[in-house]
Symmetry: C2
Subunit: 197 residues, 2 copies
């Protein structure tokens, strides 16, 4: 169980690749870009990974496993009421934007393209899973009488999903507001609206 130098070099390269994929997009990042940033030559990358696709695959699947584990824990939790669960899901999502910005950005920008390959079909399944999570949270809130029941559920889900994840395009850690403060403002608008009174 000691540190494995091989593993850490892999992770280092993956982190470099993730940063570049997030900044420039997957297609627009060349293996030479990644190698340059790592201080090696492009051919050397293929000692660690068998393709550029393998890199983004590992980056995204690792991240999603963690994120959906958190959603599952919230859904399964017995000491949160429906409203608290919804709030917690929003908070966890903004935390993901803070802690895993590159991964979220890659997913936002490149998932549609990657989905055209069979090997990334799991991204589509995760999409469905995410939809199920939010629809469940919303429906439970409606059933408990704490959320409006006159809204289109599907539209409301998209509204929430979009406003959360799109924040990765402008959120910068260390900025004027922490991710928690942003999440709370978002929740305030989402729950109470911007209308006065």
């Amino acid at each position: 169980m000691t540190a494995q130098p091989t593993e850490s070099r892999r992770d280092e390269l993956l982190a470099i690749a993730a940063r570049l994929f997030a900044e420039k997009g997957f297609r627009n990042t060349t293996v030479r870009d990644i190698a340059d940033a790592a201080g090696i030559l492009s051919g050397s990358l293929y000692h660690h990974f068998d393709s550029k696709e393998s890199m983004v695959d590992e980056i995204l699947s690792t991240f999603q496993e963690e994120l959906f584990g958190q959603y599952d824990a919230i859904l399964a939790s017995s000491d949160l009421d429906p409203l608290a669960k919804l709030e917690q899901a929003v908070l966890v999502s903004f935390e993901a934007i803070d802690k895993h910005r590159d991964e979220v950005a890659i997913y936002q920008n490149d998932a549609a393209y990657l989905l055209t390959f069979e090997r990334f079909a799991y991204l589509g399944e995760r999409n469905q899973q995410s939809r199920a999570v939010w629809l469940t949270l919303l429906q439970n809130g409606i059933d408990a009488g704490v959320l409006r029941d006159d809204l289109d559920l599907e539209l409301t889900y998209r509204f929430i999903r979009d406003t959360i994840w799109v924040a990765v395009s402008w959120y910068r850690p260390g900025g004027r507001r922490t991710h928690t403060e942003i999440a709370k403002q978002y929740l305030s608008i989402l729950l109470e609206g911007i209308h006065h009174g």
Copy 2:
């Protein structure tokens, strides 16, 4: 003032290019893709346009001129109160998603990349202009006492901007809801929130 065949062929090719740029992204669309879709060979495209960049340039600048003309008209209008102006701006934006889906999608997906070229600097200016429009609408609403004054204006602006334009990723004309119905649901959530009571 008769029909100009040269002009209409140009427009036809631009529409084909816009559709492909919107579907696959600007970088991921090759000039051969465009030529194939138009039923000609790639070299022939250069009789009409001097580069792929010129095509997307013409597509985006034409669209933005129209959209910002509408925003300016709303801001200048004297028979709308602050709340009505805000609502009108949201409606006009969703109408743009309906009427100019390709252009909006291209802007959403590729503006960040295009902005790295000097020739597309005007996209950055349009960004600033858009921000000014929404901040003005919000501030006028707050001053008139119809909007909450306890929210971060900048965050609220981003919230509105993001929820509107990201809809282009899932909205399809002829779907279950018209763009006007979607705009009204969005306004309902934005103004009143999803909380019950």
